[in-house]
């Protein structure tokens, strides 16, 4: 704990974090596929818009996850970059927007 930053054993922490981003992207994919299925069953205009929006949200989440994974993978050993609050907020917003998309399809 009191060791200077360079001496810490990184272990598999960055690896595990990268895999966590992958798992989360996968969950997002499942939700987006369900959104697509729901959208294709509803009326044409609303349905197509919802498909487009949920695909964009999925792409957004994929981009965020990719940026984070890339940052973790290319960091100097022992100095993984921290998650910024803006990045976390972006991922949260994608999730919430998907729920809003679902709400639009319900009615």
């Amino acid at each position: 704990m009191s060791a200077p930053a360079g001496d810490r054993d990184p272990g598999l922490q960055p690896e595990r974090t990268r895999l966590a981003w992958r798992r989360t992207t996968l969950s997002g994919t499942v939700a987006a596929v369900l959104a697509g299925k729901a959208a294709l069953h509803t009326g044409k205009g609303v349905g197509l818009t919802a498909v487009a929006v949920s695909s964009l949200l999925w792409l957004g989440f994929l981009a965020l996850a990719h940026l984070r994974i890339h940052a973790l993978a290319t960091a100097a050993p022992g100095r993984p970059p921290r998650l910024t609050a803006r990045h976390a907020a972006g991922a949260t917003l994608c999730t919430i927007a998907l729920a809003v998309c679902a709400l639009a399809l319900l009615f």
């Binding site: 989360t24 969950s27 100095r79 609050a85 679902a102």
Partner: protein, 130 residues
């Protein structure tokens, strides 16, 4: 409530988080990040469940179907908001060297999920033909 507003401001201002206290061991930050992602997955699963209720129980009465889907979607939204709020609070607590924040949210979420599950079983058994 003002504490929550302050936290919301911090979501979009990473440099303000960095100004407080001293930088914690990055392993703890990464663990905090994974916890955030785990909550986000829970939220995504709940939202997916909302879609699924709407899609795969078409024989249910409209009100039941929409009610269940709304409950699941609402839980998903709350869960994702809570994910980032808890992440910011933990990050701040680690910087200040304070105890990690405690929360009733996991208990509340479990109860909500249990209630939704029971309602679903009852609805599927009793109200199938609407």
């Amino acid at each position: 409530m003002s504490e929550f507003v302050r936290n919301v401001r911090l979501w979009f201002a990473p440099q303000e988080v960095r100004e407080e206290g001293r930088t914690p061991d990055y392993r703890f930050s990464l663990a905090n990040e994974r916890t955030f992602l785990a909550w986000l997955r829970t939220a995504l699963a709940l939202i997916g469940g909302g879609f699924a209720v709407d899609q795969f129980l078409p024989d249910l009465r409209w009100a039941w179907r929409v009610g269940l889907a709304l409950a699941l979607l609402g839980a998903g939204v709350l869960c994702s908001l809570r994910a980032i709020n808890h992440w910011v609070r933990c990050e701040r607590a680690m910087r200040r060297g304070e105890d990690l924040p405690t929360s009733r949210f996991p208990a509340l979420l479990s109860i909500v999920i249990a209630v939704v599950a029971v309602v679903m079983v009852v609805v599927v058994l009793v109200g199938w033909e609407g």
